[in-house]
Amino acid sequence: MSAANADRSTATVSDAPAAGAPAEGSGRDPDAFLGLSKEECVELLREMIIERRFEEKAAEVYQVGKIGGFCHLYIGQEAVSAGSISPLRDDDYVVTAYRDHAQAIARGMTPNAVMAELYGRADGCSKGFGGSMHMFDKTLNFMGGHGIVGSHLPLAVGVGYTIRYRGGDQVCLCFFGDSVVNIGAFHESMNMAARWKLPVIFLLENNRYGMGTDFRRVAAVKELKDRGRAYDGLTSLDVDGMDVLAVRQAVEEAIERGRNEKTPSFIEARCFRYMGHSMADPMHGTYRTREEVEKWRSDDPILSFTRQLMDAGRLTEEEYQAIDREAKEIAEESAAFADRSPFPDSDALYRYVYSDGYPDDMRRRDAWRKELR
């Protein structure tokens, strides 16, 4: 039985589901746990809780000025990152957008390295050069962290091209938000990935709002997954993005298609962000109601998975409390670590502009800055 509502050619445009409604076709047997062991299930839950507590800590320290710039939090969407990254192999690739802290942690970056990056410190995963939107770790094939909406999809297609070029069986998982479906880069990417059979998993996190714009107000399609129907060879489906096991099953199937058939997939995970678009945006704003936020929060991915595990005798209240305590400690420690980490030294300024050194003419044009001479 498939977790998801796969359709290459038969879907018809219908009314978008009401807020909070699970996606159609989530016919997964809730007791089956996809064949995962008790420990694997608890690890999935633990991952989600660590992401949640980390982001709560980030919000807290942002308020006191420890983090600068834009800061887009992931709270509410943890089932998508945990469910999709957990079935990847180490040699697979991840490319994502600017709401990237939790995905970086899910891929294996330490919360310390992510928080230090948020603080703009030398121990950050991008050495303080990237910040919130640009998390990178080459050792984990975590390829950013990109801040121009939609422009990272072609990058993921390039990674898929490289996999095929070398005859590998990896996949490239690419996250993006609902506003991307209206951008040319989305269609250019889907077209090339489908035409050349590139193992890319396009994972749309439909949290319903592109910044403050309801996707239904700007997309001339009722169901965003239908945007994939134009491309032969691309499997398009939707999944309940508040259900970590549903996400995991859909991505596992997409990984199989990518590894074996080299075909791309387009998965719309229907989810919700509890916080504003960024820390500059209030939780409700003018574009969504308190009731809508509360309705989605009542379907919280962490609480529902916790309940599911407890009902199945796979988790005790004590175990849950211990995980939550540990997650809070990890978040606290990441902030303390970031605070201790040094700021990048000014010599680093010219170190990463070119890989073969900073050209002399450029340095001479900066010579009016006496402190840099």
């Binding site: 422009s151 999809l153 990058l155 091209y161 990417s189 090339m192």
Partner: protein, 327 residues
């Protein structure tokens, strides 16, 4: 030495580099079955196959970004834009992705990629197909920008660009593909990025130029011999990084400079060269630096108006006389 056209030299560079390194692939519109819109990629599909010579859909943003992603994953892509005019659709991937990735990732992901294609005006192609893109890209730290004037430099610099570990913008010329032909060494060579070359030695005035304007400057220099004005022609070859040492050395010798370039005057390469000269060689100047540019209008279609807009050897010669107070 064999005499090759600019086009043949580029084609040789691509073939030799692709034979040397199988991580190199070319992607672009019409690069494969059509043999290249301007035949620069002629014969490569047949030799290397479709994964290494990939005909792309007309989707500049998409295939430029594909190249950036492939470079991050370890390949060495060459992205051909049919012309640089169409590359404006892809400038986000060049500027926001390729140029910034190395620093944004704290030095983890360098992007070894070449974006190449013809720039500048050709023959009555009107406003959207007649423009010089050098300033748009040379503004951006993280990019290297090359615009060669001869077949020899085109081959040597394209080989260097392909071997470079950072993103390179390589600007060719539709007009020069066939008209420019010169001696190209038969043995293996590369031309260093960031090094200007004196194309003609002279003692009275330095003309700093690149790409097509090198040929206009050489023609002007020949004409001015009759007037006993000895012109040095300095071909920048690379506009970022810019060989300020070569510019300053030449100006210190001649004490006068003209900066010539095909495109619009506002914020162009020449504007930067004038600044570099006044900062580093002010005391050597016997006259203000003169500039030769295209006129500051979108390119008109009508033949007479296009001629009026486009800088030529007579314009360069007039500017040289002006800085010599000989006009």
């Amino acid at each position: 030495m064999a005499v090759l056209t600019y086009r043949e030299a580029l084609n040789d560079a691509l073939r030799e580099e692709m034979e040397r390194d199988d991580s190199i692939f070319i992607i672009g519109e019409e690069v494969g079955e059509y043999d290249g819109a301007y035949k620069v990629t002629k014969g490569l599909l047949e030799q290397f196959g479709e994964w290494r010579v990939r005909d792309a859909p007309i989707a500049e943003l998409g295939f430029a970004g594909l190249g950036v992603g492939a470079a991050m994953a370890g390949l060495r892509p060459i992205v051909e834009f049919m012309t640089w005019n169409f590359a404006l659709l892809a400038i986000d991937e060049v500027v926001n992705a390729a140029a910034k990735m190395f620093q944004m990732s704290g030095g983890q992901y360098n992007v070894p990629i070449v974006f190449r294609g013809p720039g500048g005006a050709a023959l009555q192609l009107a406003a959207q197909h007649s423009q010089s893109p050098e300033p748009w890209y040379s503004y951006v730290p993280g990019l290297k920008v090359i615009a060669p004037a001869t077949a020899k430099d085109a081959k040597g610099l394209l080989k260097s660009a392909v071997r470079d570990n950072d993103p390179v913008v390589f600007i060719e010329s539709e007009i020069m593909y066939n008209l420019v032909r010169d001696e190209v060494p038969e043995e293996e060579y590369v031309t260093p990025i960031g090094k200007a070359e004196v194309k003609r030695e002279g003692s009275d005035v330095t003309v700093v130029c690149h790409s097509k304007m090198v040929h206009q400057a050489l023609a002007a220099a020949r004409a001015l011999e009759k007037e006993d004005i000895d012109v040095e022609v300095l071909d920048l070859r690379t506009v970022r990084p810019l060989d300020v040492d070569a510019v300053v050395a030449s100006v210190k010798k001649t004490n006068r400079a003209v900066v010539a370039e095909e495109g619009w005057p506002m914020c162009n390469v020449g504007a930067q060269v004038v600044d570099d000269i006044q900062r580093e060689a002010f005391d050597s100047l016997d006259a203000p630096v003169a500039r030769v540019n295209g006129l500051d209008v979108p390119m008109p279609y009508a033949k007479n108006l296009e001629k009026l807009v486009t800088p030529n050897a007579d314009h360069v010669a007039a500017a040289v006389r002006h800085v010599c107070y000989a006009d």
